[in-house]
Subunit: 293 residues, 6 copies
Amino acid sequence: MFYHDSKLQYKVRVDKPNPAFAKLLQQAIGGIEGEIRVCLQYLFQAWGNRGPNKYRDMLLDTGTEEISHIEMLCTAVALNLEGATNDLKDKIAGENPIVGSIMGGMDPRHILSSGLSAMAVDANGVPFNGSWVVGSGNIAADMYANVMAESTGRVLATRLYEMTDDKGMKDLLAFLITRDAMHQNQWLAALEDLGGVKENLPIPNTFPMSDHIKEFDYAFVSTNIEKPAPAQGRWTSGPSIDGKGEFKHVQAYPTGEVPDLGIPDVKGYAQAQQMKGGDDDSLLGNIKDTIMP
Amino acid sequence: MFYHDSKLQYKVRVDKPNPAFAKLLQQAIGGIEGEIRVCLQYLFQAWGNRGPNKYRDMLLDTGTEEISHIEMLCTAVALNLEGATNDLKDKIAGENPIVGSIMGGMDPRHILSSGLSAMAVDANGVPFNGSWVVGSGNIAADMYANVMAESTGRVLATRLYEMTDDKGMKDLLAFLITRDAMHQNQWLAALEDLGGVKENLPIPNTFPMSDHIKEFDYAFVSTNIEKPAPAQGRWTSGPSIDGKGEFKHVQAYPTGEVPDLGIPDVKGYAQAQQMKGGDDDSLLGNIKDTIMP
Amino acid sequence: MFYHDSKLQYKVRVDKPNPAFAKLLQQAIGGIEGEIRVCLQYLFQAWGNRGPNKYRDMLLDTGTEEISHIEMLCTAVALNLEGATNDLKDKIAGENPIVGSIMGGMDPRHILSSGLSAMAVDANGVPFNGSWVVGSGNIAADMYANVMAESTGRVLATRLYEMTDDKGMKDLLAFLITRDAMHQNQWLAALEDLGGVKENLPIPNTFPMSDHIKEFDYAFVSTNIEKPAPAQGRWTSGPSIDGKGEFKHVQAYPTGEVPDLGIPDVKGYAQAQQMKGGDDDSLLGNIKDTIMP
Amino acid sequence: MFYHDSKLQYKVRVDKPNPAFAKLLQQAIGGIEGEIRVCLQYLFQAWGNRGPNKYRDMLLDTGTEEISHIEMLCTAVALNLEGATNDLKDKIAGENPIVGSIMGGMDPRHILSSGLSAMAVDANGVPFNGSWVVGSGNIAADMYANVMAESTGRVLATRLYEMTDDKGMKDLLAFLITRDAMHQNQWLAALEDLGGVKENLPIPNTFPMSDHIKEFDYAFVSTNIEKPAPAQGRWTSGPSIDGKGEFKHVQAYPTGEVPDLGIPDVKGYAQAQQMKGGDDDSLLGNIKDTIMP
Amino acid sequence: MFYHDSKLQYKVRVDKPNPAFAKLLQQAIGGIEGEIRVCLQYLFQAWGNRGPNKYRDMLLDTGTEEISHIEMLCTAVALNLEGATNDLKDKIAGENPIVGSIMGGMDPRHILSSGLSAMAVDANGVPFNGSWVVGSGNIAADMYANVMAESTGRVLATRLYEMTDDKGMKDLLAFLITRDAMHQNQWLAALEDLGGVKENLPIPNTFPMSDHIKEFDYAFVSTNIEKPAPAQGRWTSGPSIDGKGEFKHVQAYPTGEVPDLGIPDVKGYAQAQQMKGGDDDSLLGNIKDTIMP
Amino acid sequence: MFYHDSKLQYKVRVDKPNPAFAKLLQQAIGGIEGEIRVCLQYLFQAWGNRGPNKYRDMLLDTGTEEISHIEMLCTAVALNLEGATNDLKDKIAGENPIVGSIMGGMDPRHILSSGLSAMAVDANGVPFNGSWVVGSGNIAADMYANVMAESTGRVLATRLYEMTDDKGMKDLLAFLITRDAMHQNQWLAALEDLGGVKENLPIPNTFPMSDHIKEFDYAFVSTNIEKPAPAQGRWTSGPSIDGKGEFKHVQAYPTGEVPDLGIPDVKGYAQAQQMKGGDDDSLLGNIKDTIMP
């Protein structure tokens, strides 16, 4: 069973909104290398787990952590889209071809369909596909599937990191890269449990480890609110599989704030009642006078 | 941010495993009327919410509850598939055409791809599609989308209820039907907040309310571990929108047990190490002698 | 602009409902060889037509006729599903494995999702896909695309014809086969117009022409309610391209009746108000007493 | 059975072709909020209707009207793409990066695949998906599905309205917004029939009603060529559900012209015979001399 | 550049045709664990390879071998469908409910759409999806993707092996399992090259190695017709990664025969000219007399 | 069974890399008009062929040739993406809006997901779909499907030819256009065999034949390494169906070179070991010092 906190697992800050970067972030949400895939993959593997319970527990912990990752990325998309509707008309109307290029770089459905928020699609607007959720019932095959998902996910995150100068976004991506590296180590540790891997195994390696977020390096994060004693799996203590750190066990806690996206832009045609700030009706009154029949 | 409990929100019991019913249950997991859709839909709407925070809070609470519903249905699928590999060879080989009919009624990928566990697909094996996750940024349109999702979800659940005699499954489905009815009332209450609906609105009505699970009727379930004071939304107190009950506010708690699916069937070609019961290696030894090179 | 008639283009009669045949008919509705594809393909080609208007007129006439074909097939699906909910519980519960085989042969979503009516999917429940709607803007390529669509559609219809003994269904399929043959001739005639084809071109040929419905053989059906003078295209007069008949021009008219599917089965969980026969409320009263809270 | 008129339901005029706007319009054609979805959804619900015939009649009338909407939007796409092939080579070759931005904003398949006409895809080129066509057999669930489809469709149309300064396009979109509002009222009226809704229900409300096209406001448009007496449904007379108008019954008639897209651009590689204006062969002769071997 | 041989890589023999098993085999052709996926995945990785050429060469060799695997499985599907049209009418018509169960267990599109041959779909008829073709440009991530594809592919093949008693099919599946094991070893060997893995790594291990086809065990098969000297990769000599064999280098050669599927069944509505055996027209004459107009 | 050569069928040269053109080329790889579709379509038709073997042989020859076409197009995509990562950060960060327009015109997944190589998707990033692979078992319907695929493929190739000034790309596209024209002639020749077509049939005709690559005009290319005697099909000798040439039989041979894509860009986060040129480790050493922990 599942619970939530109104705060985020890690802080999400966008210094300068960029709708083109919002489009790129979608790959990490709804793409085949993205977080919806790993989230559902680990949870479905947990829910179908037969055999030793330690695998189920591990998969539930990390599958639940991934929901928090989707949440942070969706918040990042919404913040990057802030203000994208302004003078949109000029842009698309082509009166100013230079700003029109921004339109070319963004996902039009971020305006048309979602009203400046994230969608369950990839960077080209192709919807998330349930066929990507792999759980074979064979724990070795599943662990390789998980290593593969985190490997390609980590490569994606490093490329997103490369494509932005926004300090807030780089910080969030460094956090996600750190967790992807840990999760790979974790699934490889499970493979060691299953009879193999005594020495260093590669993880995608051209992103410098010195840019990892130390607090979360090699940390197995348990999201279980019952706070059981640290599991005895190979993935919670001892040397990490990449040979560069020590596994540790951490109880999940939020380090970010409650996100607040503010009031919708009038040109986005949200409902009039949404124009209120929090629960203050006064703003609504003005809007109603202006735009409602 | 998200947490989990190792127990289930409601008990899941299958009196007599039925692989054909497992196939039907997939519609409620990965189908367009299913729980992955509502789960992601409410969460994406929450994460993109602009305007009054009460909508975000409500959506997070219920979106999180829906993860628990996916979990229970996936557990139900796995339990219904118990034993499905036994004498499978005979069935498909056609030596016994009567049992062959059971094969015709089950999803072959439950054996071939998932090793007797749930998948992110519908009752025909068509994968979940992210395009179904609707969040428009207009709260009225979104509430109608949510009413629609729960309406068709409730109709689906009543038909599943009709198609089984298994007491455990009927009990689980009655729970889900009860929650679907509440969730419809809840989204309609939000629409009342937005200026409409003063009297009874229909919800799919040919399933008798007397078969609802009373404990969860008209209960707004908060999954927030911070346990905030009950929200002041129209959906937590006062008469329900269908005119037949009173809204109440309930803090989420598990009423089910920790699921245990046992040891995989040897014929399903799980990994040898999974054959152990819990962490007892002795069983593995025997299996290793028999089937591993 | 479009209009409709409440009657069908051709009579639809099912002598003995057969839910497994309903599933097969779905291929002719939502499959790649099906009628939604040709309907949208011809209409999109018409709406994007540049150059001689005769092509646009022809495409509009036939694209509109294809809507009537979808309508008849959907009616046929609904009629074949009549009664499929009865004792469904027994079937799926596996108490009677022989009748269970019928469940194996039907599309479970015909019960779960559509309440015994047609869906926009193929015979395996895979949804119709807009990528199949080909309109290239090159009239030669488009005419080949249309010949291909009708060729594979005709092969499909002949196989459906082979798979049923129901006289009503055979009659409907013979009508559709007749029209598929004409439509192939029609697109080939357009290719002749474009510089080729002076002699016999093959159409799938193992279905005997003597089983065609004569009234509609080689008839170009105009669905234009303005009733313009017969078009001068190669496809409205002169010898047919297969060398076996003469083209003729016919103004569209219904030859079928207004379809009436009757009252829904109580076990299908339709809305109570639908249980009424026509607009007679008395039946509803009884149902309400019985099944509504 | 279905018929067509060669004229459009409402005039379609593009003052200044804009290929980037053509791409956005695709969302209203082949997107989940678009017209193919509502068209097929209402028609499939009609064809599967059991119970009172008044629902079937209403659904057929409006489903048929939606085909006319697809037709107008497809015409609008083709007109916005007029001339898009000219000096395309320069653009993509990157010799002029500013005009290149226009390429970034358009759908490349509008040139490559469709030859400057509409496709059955959304604004990102993702194909229409038949899974979106919802018809559950429960009239209450279906009416909510229809309200949801029109709500999100209306929000989409208002955003498209916001993104253009082209007077012709704004006029067409105002027409579609007007009809979307009416159709929502209509489905809500059916819900009132089913036992609920006595007062104002919200429809997405930040688009001013004063910009509606009055002639079509609150008008139930019957597309039945048999011109039956006005139906007695709640949706053809009496106060509208939003409390702001009176329902009326209107027999469908075209108010637009016959569309004429002219001659294809030579660089689009249409067939040589399409280069003719109407049926005048002289133009073809010249083209043949120039570009055909 | 690519070439072919008219013979098969390994013999394909079906002792007793079984249309239900043909459906299951589709998972190994067009499913996410299937051969089209690995074939395209290795070839796309080869075609996009930057860096040391040895990776490109290895990927081309194995990608080409996988085409031969698709070919053998498609041949197996066609052979299993032999005779499936016979008395089909009886089956679907439900006159004989027991044989009807066979219909329930087969893919209806094997009759309706493909005329008793394989399709590019999975065991539920869901089409192959290009999103499964993973090539990230990072060789470590790609090798994990390949290990995962072969792991899940091997698990699938062992389950298919379990589900049949047909000696010919078991022999073919043992060949494919043997190659899947080798290919896993091969990709793991590439990972060793990249800095890791010194000892035994698990591959799905509950299928006994004694059932492998020895001739192809641990054999790196080169499909390059230029027959270059054996590559120096870790994957062509030395101990295998699973620690149970020695890698060897083998030049590809066919060990199977030219497949011959015979003459189509008349009831499948193939073209009359296909009824000929080889190029003998006499049979056609008879058929023409009987079934062609 | 299949083999490969390390050289290409025809030379692939890109004079000036253009990532926007790389995106357009994807339509010819993974689009419905693209080469994966025809490749799999011809091979599946071959593998399911019943009746005269000459059709199987022809289909295998040409299906195998199409793999070589995919290979060349994928090589062309990779070469057009060369250098696309350079100063990517600036572009997406929007500091230079003009270069940002280039980002708008390229497929972001070419950077994020594939590391500057081709993917199995179309020009909008929509994945290849196995439903496009048509093989009906009726040779006439299949030949029309093949003519249609080549017709729309040829129209696509001519439009790509129009959109580039790069001499290398124009040369490759002229080669592909030449082969598309031949393949259409070939399938039409098979239709003549089946009883029709005595005179000129149109193929998309606004691309001048004088721009064809003469060496490959009207040449039936056999990819069979057994080098059998020229087949006697209508498609290997005699006048071509379009009446403008003579068929000839040619044994396949490479005319291109071994492709070499060089070393990956450091910013693309490939694996460090890929940075080596060929097998020279020295470059790796430097990179390791710089970017690896």
